[in-house]
């Protein structure tokens, strides 16, 4: 359990100050201490790098706040059901998407710029390490905020796809009106409740469908057609049942496909991450291999040189020996 002795420290500072004053020692500050600090602080380079880094961080923070603020409205579905408060039209959503993307792009560009500049003037190893670590942190932060955004967007896209798929359902001719009404209710209700889990919406849909059917049944009756024979009612009811079955199976299939698509998108994400990682490594390897081929080429050149020198050396030695032997012979002949 740590004990905070900051107050003790401040008290000791005061004691030392008073003691120094009593002793008459010139303190490098004293009453002017605060002013001196300010003076000393301002001419010190305010750390261009860290200032800019902090700016980027605050930008990203603003983006995050903005996204979180409008998140509820964004996710919240179809405005014609809710009251005016939470309304957000599609154009507004598109606007938000575009703005967020531009913002993220500028932020990542700023980070890249900082990274390039960071290593320019400074020669100290520690400062370089520190700066690259800081940039890593900022990138990580940006990634997390981007994830927020992409989650939102994924939900929205999924809903749009759902809507399109359902609205494409081909109804049968005689129950067309009923189809359109039921399909509308079907499309409205799942979108209304599918915040996160489309799976759990089976119940409302199934409940609504049987509800609407009897309603339509009563409407059909109350339209004043007393000539509807019991057989016709029965056939209509059978058709209704059949249609319910069809809708349910269609809905099941749709749900399955949703699940698959989500899985596939997740897999894609993972794969892209891995591929990007591997890209960096492959670049590295490429550099190394290029360096290695250069070295080998140079090695070959050197070996060739060495062989040539060897050969040349041998020639000279041979020549020298032959000259020596000839000179010996000559001297011998001359002498005798």
């Amino acid at each position: 359990m740590a004990v905070d002795i900051t107050l003790l420290f401040r008290a000791s500072v005061k004691t030392v100050k008073t003691r120094n004053k009593a002793l008459g020692v010139a303190v490098g500050g004293g009453a002017d201490g605060s002013r001196d600090e300010l003076f000393r602080r301002s001419p010190r380079p305010r750390g261009d790098f860290s200032g800019r880094a902090r700016e980027v961080v605050s930008h990203i923070g603003k983006l995050r706040d903005f996204l979180l603020e409008h998140r509820k409205d964004y996710i919240n579905a179809y405005s014609h059901i809710m009251s005016e408060y939470g309304r957000m039209t599609d154009t507004e959503r598109d606007q938000i998407d575009q703005d967020a993307q531009i913002f993220m792009r500028t932020c990542s560009e700023a980070i890249q710029q900082l990274r390039a500049e960071a290593h320019k003037e400074i020669h100290s190893q520690q400062v370089k390490e520190h700066r690259s670590a800081v940039l890593d942190f900022i990138e990580d932060y940006l990634k997390r905020v981007c994830k927020l955004y992409s989650e939102q967007r994924a939900i929205r896209v999924k809903r749009v796809v759902d809507k399109k798929r359902l609205s494409k359902l081909e109804p049968e001719p005689n129950t067309k009106t009923r189809e359109s009404i039921s399909s509308e209710t079907v499309s409205q209700n799942p979108s209304k409740e599918s915040e996160e889990k489309p799976v759990t919406e089976e119940y409302p849909v199934e409940k609504i469908l049987p509800d609407t059917q009897p309603e339509l049944g009563t409407w059909g009756d109350s339209r004043g057609e007393e000539e509807l024979s019991p057989e016709e009612i029965q056939t209509f009811e059978q058709e209704n049942q059949r249609l319910i079955g069809q809708m349910n199976s269609l809905f099941d299939e749709v749900r399955q496909i949703e699940g698959k698509v989500v899985e596939i998108s997740r897999l894609q994400e993972i794969f892209t991450e891995k591929v990007l990682q591997q890209e960096a490594e492959i670049d590295n390897i490429h550099q190394l291999v290029v360096g290695a081929t250069e070295n080998i080429k140079e090695g070959n050149e050197d070996i060739r040189e060495a062989i040539k020198n060897n050969a040349g050396f041998r020639v000279w030695i041979l020549f020298f020996l032959v000259m020596c032997s000839f000179s010996l012979l000559f001297l011998d002949w001359y002498d005798s």
């Binding site: 740590a2 905070d4 500072v13 100050k17 520190h130």
Partner: protein
């Protein structure tokens, strides 16, 4: 309700220390995990003590997660990094303070958060204040804290006092014949300081029991005094904060048993057979890190090539490593088998992933009905998400294969299994089948040091000393084998002293059976070729320290422990009645060995407590040595 709190009170010391460290790194504000929080970057400066404390607990990645961009040693050359807060984690010694004042003068960082590992004295605080004033940097010093973390936690339930200055508190330092009173005081103060920090972090005030007339008693007296002073000082007491949590509410206070190394000198010399203890004994194992020297295989090196370098590898054996956690106490052949099993299961999983690849390749050419696709996507997802796990598993398997192979080589070269069996027999006083002289004069059984160890164990555990003629024979055999006889001198002295004080400790009954080695080898078919190495099975035995603990925890009456002193810092009257007030058995105990401990005792305690439900033991020692280091200390003592 109270039961839950009691279980929480026994939270591992490692977790507590880690939490305290993380809080300190977060500027001493409790850490709140926020997934979209802004990054805060800082620089960590530590001295060697701080480094030893942090390195077993936090990896570099975890430091990064908390926001540390750079971690530097205090006494290295550091460049000014503007606009960055710096967190210092140092001991309040003179040189550290000087260096910190120098930093303040050079204005290296923007703001300073000073954390002292143990309490700083008022005068040193004033030194810093002076320097801060001189450098006009008083506002830069943002916070000053006393962290009370002056101990190193190695395992969930094991801690060591210090690593840097272990010369100061080693067995040799405490038992030197020429030690002066002041030196003894310093040593005792260091030990008590660390123990005090330990109890502050644990958040509980223990009941202390120690034997009479030993160094442990001195430590107990001082510790009791220090705890008492702190409790009386109601304003600054460290034990009444509400951050202590469950430690405050449990019924039971933990029991601190202080024992001295002199109770049992045979255990540190013992040859061992469990994995962790073997690694510590045979390889270079230090603060949870193993350093291996790997020699690459013999190849025909072409003429003119550079000589082969031996690779040095070091591995961290951390609590995250599940294999290590499971098997650190198992006998070595079991470990070998388990590594094999893990390797096979890893290969099976790898094959599945590879098979998936071929399936995908084939199916991609068909139309791909939705149902087939669904199976494959699910499989693919699970395979991809399990890939990092697989890689991690492979890394661990490689690590343990290397470590175990290195250990096995040593065992084979030095015939450690023979020694182990023999020593077990000696310590349990069963009949010996081979005479001691045979083993000592056997030229290829172990290094001279091993023989010395064996002989010392024999000498320590016999009831009556061997006759002079026998002794001469042994001595001659030992010198022939190349041993240094100094440790023997010291042990003779010790034995004489121990006989005066009390009866030597007995080791209980134990047997070591050897199983049919051929059948085991055929069954496992492992790459660990264990032929020639006996497969010994350990039977449960209780070392002296464990027995003492058992007596004290269960309040059994036993002539050994009946006259142990009893201290309770919370009692108003500071007397030392030998009659314990509390008649119930304790649930939590801390065993601390003054003078050095080792993994064999630790393992024994762990095994002992496994059998008991709901009880916890923490093991601590003033230093951790293996037999080699202990022999060195003994020979230094015997030289005088």
């Amino acid at each position: 309700m109270v039961g839950v709190k009691m279980a929480a009170a026994a939270a591992s010391i490692r977790e507590r220390q880690t939490v305290a460290l993380k809080r300190m790194l977060n500027f001493n504000v409790p850490h709140v995990k926020n997934s979209t929080g802004e990054p805060v970057w800082k620089v960590l400066i530590y001295d060697r003590f701080g480094q030893d404390i942090i390195s077993p607990l936090l990896s570099v990645k975890e430091l990064r997660d908390v926001g540390i961009t750079l971690h530097l040693l205090l006494h290295s050359d550091r460049d000014p990094i503007p606009d960055v807060p710096a967190v210092y984690f140092v001991m309040p010694t003179e040189e550290n303070i000087d260096r910190m004042c120098q930093d303040l003068r050079n204005q290296l960082y923007e703001s300073y958060y000073l954390n002292f590992i143990s309490a700083i004295s008022r005068s040193k605080l004033e030194d810093i204040a002076n320097a801060a004033l001189a450098a006009s940097a008083v506002t830069q010093v943002a916070k000053v804290f006393d962290q009370y973390l002056n101990f190193i936690t190695l395992e969930d339930d094991m801690f060591v006092l210090c690593n840097q200055n272990k010369e100061l508190v080693s067995y040799r330092a405490i038992n030197r014949p020429d030690i002066t009173d002041t030196e003894m005081e310093t040593v005792m103060d260091t030990i008590v300081d660390s123990l005090f920090c330990f109890f502050v972090t644990l958040g509980a005030v223990p009941i202390i029991r120690c034997s009479r007339g030993t160094a442990a008693e001195m430590v107990a007296v001082k510790l009791d005094k220090k705890l008492r002073e702190n409790l009386r000082d109601a304003r600054n007491s460290l034990f009444t904060g509400d951050t202590l949590g469950a430690g405050q509410f449990s019924f039971q206070r933990p029991l601190l048993v202080l024992v001295d190394r002199n109770i049992d000198l045979a255990t540190p010399l013992h040859h061992t057979w469990t994995y962790q203890a073997l690694v510590h004994d045979v390889l270079d194992f230090h603060l949870n890190r193993v350093n291996l020297e790997e020699s690459s295989g013999v190849e025909n090196s072409p003429a003119g090539a550079r000589p082969k370098r031996k690779n040095k590898k070091s591995y961290d054996l951390t609590p995250v490593d599940k294999f290590w956690q499971k098997h650190k106490g198992s006998p070595f052949p079991e470990v070998a088998e388990s590594v094999q099993q893990e390797l096979e299961s890893y290969r099976a999983q790898e094959d599945e992933v590879k098979r998936l690849k071929s399936i995908m390749g084939l199916e991609g050419e068909d139309e791909g009905a939705i149902s087939m696709l669904s199976d494959n996507t699910a499989k693919l997802t699970s395979a991809v998400s399990s890939l990092p796990e697989l890689l991690e598993k492979k890394r661990l398997i490689d690590l343990h294969t290397n470590v175990a192979t290195a250990v096995l080589e040593h065992i084979k070269a030095r015939k450690l299994d023979v020694y182990f069996e023999y020593e077990e027999k000696i310590m349990s006083k069963t009949t010996l089948d081979k005479s001691l002289l045979d083993i000592i004069s056997d030229p290829d059984a172990g290094t001279p040091e091993d023989k010395m160890r064996l002989f010392l164990i024999y000498y320590i555990s016999t009831q009556q000393a061997p006759s002079e003629a026998d002794l001469e024979q042994y001595k001659k055999a030992l010198t022939d084998a190349g041993c240094n006889l100094n440790p023997l001198q010291y042990i003779k002295q010790w034995k004489a002293f121990a006989k005066m004080a009390s009866a030597p400790a007995s080791y209980g009954n134990t047997t070591a059976k050897s199983m049919g080695l051929l059948s085991r080898v055929m069954n496992t078919g492992s790459q660990f070729v264990m032929e020639g190495v006996k497969n010994l099975v350990l039977k449960q035995q209780n070392l002296p320290v464990t027995r003492i603990l058992d007596n004290l925890m269960e309040m059994k009456s036993n002539p050994e422990t009946d006259d142990y002193r009893y201290f309770d810092p919370k009692m108003l009257r500071g007397n030392d009645s030998s009659v314990p007030r509390n008649k119930n058995p304790f649930q939590e105990a801390i065993v601390f060995v003054v003078g050095g401990g080792n993994y064999i005792e630790y393992q024994n305690l762990v095994d002992y407590i496994k059998g008991k439900q709901g009880k916890h033991i923490l093991y601590g020692c003033s230093e951790l040595f293996n037999a080699t280091q202990f022999i060195k200390q003994l020979s230094q003592l015997g030289q005088k």
